[in-house]
């Protein structure tokens, strides 16, 4: 792992700690409060705060997962450096697109 990958991996991990805690807390609060899907969507629609929150989350999670997958592939499969890196980068792109699509759906669609 290069120093840059190392920094991104550790940095995104630290970034995700408060995001995950907030994410889980909001889920539990919403479920406990008995909010329906429509009620939740009415709160998220047009909210730049939630778009920013989950935008940051998707950004951090996709990078973290991509670098982590690259490491796992290098250590646990016969794949070489280039193949592992390509799969890791593809995973970053896939998670980023899927995450962006989900944010679009709950904030703008």
């Amino acid at each position: 792992m290069s120093p840059v990958s190392y920094l991104l991996q550790r940095g995104t991990a630290m970034l995700m700690v408060p995001l995950i805690i907030t994410h889980l807390a909001v889920i539990i609060m919403a479920v406990q409060g008995g909010l329906s899907a429509e009620e939740i969507l009415s709160r998220t629609h047009g909210s730049m705060m939630w778009a920013g929150f989950y935008g940051l989350f998707v950004f951090a999670a996709s990078i973290h997962a991509g670098i982590g997958m690259q490491t796992i592939l290098r250590e646990w499969t016969p794949l070489g450096r280039l193949a592992s890196a390509n799969i890791g980068h593809a995973l970053i792109a896939i998670l980023w697109v899927l995450g962006a699509r989900a944010i679009y759906a709950v904030v703008w669609a």
């Binding site: 792992m1 120093p3 840059v4 450096r81």
Partner: protein, 242 residues
């Protein structure tokens, strides 16, 4: 061996990587080390047994083997401490090619010391003057903690990451690089950080601490590697690792 002597079973790895264990009956002795057992077998039971040792007192680092599944320095390991159900299993160190019986090829181990740039590089200072190194300085203290490595290969054999990636520099070479980097007299300290921050260097460590757990002289290569991670990251952010 007389009929009155108490004995115990020792299974010893024979052959190369495709070899197998061979059982021996060895007499029990007081204060017997694992190296004593191997030596007894070679001198009395099978002179063809290949193994490596030199000092017998825990200084040279040449007698490391896998004893009951765990890498150890055999000259300082008492049988009474490691025997399980009256039995001992002795194999060559893992993560290294086996030459024969208990002898491994240490070439990859020492090539990684070279690749981690663990050697001293003289600076441009006056050749006739001693460079001052403050005994109380942070660098000297960090070097002191890492410097007593005996090159036995136990940490390298114990390292999970080495077992997954044979190109990883490993704890011993990186520990040496940390000691070298903390030598303020070195003329190319950035060169060390460049060497250890390649894709197979210090950032590959998972901090499992197997090296620290197994090191016979109680060093902590994980701590050294963490130091290299910090130092190389700082150097990278300052643009020094181009």
């Amino acid at each position: 061996m007389t009929s009155q002597e108490r004995t115990f079973q020792v299974d010893i790895w024979r052959g190369d990587e495709n070899g197998e264990y061979q059982p021996f009956e060895v007499p029990e002795r007081e204060n017997q080390t694992v190296l004593d057992v191997v030596t007894y077998i070679q001198r009395h039971l099978d002179p063809a047994l290949a193994y490596r040792f030199a000092c017998r007192v825990g200084v040279c680092g040449s007698c490391a083997m896998t004893v009951n599944g765990r890498p150890r320095w055999t000259c300082r390991t008492h049988v009474s401490r490691v025997v399980k159900n009256g039995k001992l299993t002795i194999a060559p160190l893992t993560n290294l090619p086996v030459i024969r019986d208990l002898v491994t090829d240490m070439t990859p181990f020492f090539e990684k010391w070279r690749d981690a740039r663990g050697r001293f590089v003289a600076g441009d200072g006056p050749k006739n003057e001693l460079a001052p190194v403050e005994p109380e300085s942070n660098e000297r203290a960090a070097a002191s903690e890492a410097i007593e490595c005996i090159n036995c290969g136990v940490c390298y054999s114990a390292c999970d990451v080495v077992s997954w990636r044979d190109d990883y520099l490993g704890p011993a070479a990186l520990n040496r690089a940390w000691a070298a980097w903390n030598d303020v007299r070195d003329g190319d300290r950035t060169g060390i950080l460049k060497a250890v921050s390649q894709g197979t260097g210090c950032h590959t460590c998972h901090t499992h601490q197997s090296c620290a757990e197994h090191c016979p002289v109680a060093l902590n290569p994980t701590f050294s590697i963490a130091g290299l991670k910090r130092a190389s990251l700082k150097a990278k952010l300052k643009g020094q690792l181009r």
